[in-house]
């Protein structure tokens, strides 16, 4: 399989994740869609690492995984805090920080 197949698949997954971020309004699902986009980026990094024949892209992918885990932890903490304070779990309702 050519590496370009993986890259096109990665573009497709990234576009799917972006579509989800635009459509959905539950913050939990938006976090899931961000995971989709990060994983699409990971797939592209690993594919380029294979195409170049060195492993540095895989180290990048690992660091992306760590950053994604941090983002999940903080995002889920925010969602739990919102739920505790009975704020509606709808990103369109949270507009107090808007300038």
């Amino acid at each position: 399989m050519d590496v370009s197949w993986y890259l096109v698949l990665s573009a497709l997954l990234f576009a799917t994740g972006a579509c989800g971020v635009l459509i959905r309004r539950s913050p939990l699902v938006i976090l899931l869609c961000l995971e989709l986009m990060l994983n699409a980026g990971n797939l592209a990094l690993v594919a380029f690492s294979r195409s170049n024949g060195n492993e540095e892209g895989q180290v990048f992918a690992l660091v992306v995984m760590v950053v994604a885990a941090c983002e999940v932890v903080v995002g889920l903490g925010l969602i739990v805090a919102m739920f505790r304070r009975r704020i509606a779990l709808d990103v369109d309702e949270i507009r107090e920080l808007r300038g």
Binding site: G17, L31, L36, E56, V67, V80, R86
Partner: protein, 186 residues
Amino acid sequence: MVEVAFFAGAIGALGGAIAVIALNNPFYSVLALIVHLISLAGLFLLLHAEFIAAAQIVVYAGAVMVLYLFVAAYVGGTEEPIAQAIPGQRFVAPLLAAALFVEVSIAVVGTSLASIQTEGPVIEAGFGSPGSIGRLLLERFLVAFEAASMLLLIAAVGAIVLAGRKGTGTSASGPGVPDVDRGEIV
């Protein structure tokens, strides 16, 4: 054989991704994301990234998704309102996503990089194994490795501060907010 494995993984990953954004219940979306992550780990194996594939399954599909499942179960199945906040959002957003896909595909396929039209160079046996990745992490990318561990620590402390219960120090509830702790009810 490789083609069959690639298309099986690609269909799993794409189907999981579409299910994540199409299913109404967040709980099912999380389960669909697990399917997506496991298919993606298969694709990583095809690209000779064994350690990344294992980390993907153990860390991502295992630990992180369990966290998601707990929060989805805690928050409950909040159905999204049918009414659209922005008129035509359901129709315009897929169009924008399709435009993004076409743009990125043109950028990738139309590039003059000759190496992406091949399977990649011949690689030695240990490519992507835990040993070689670990050596790379601890020698060449040591600073990035330490920074990542620091980031994980800060994120863990931040999550405790954000989601901590009332009475155990820093609470999320500020002044002027009715103090209702849902933890007592649940």
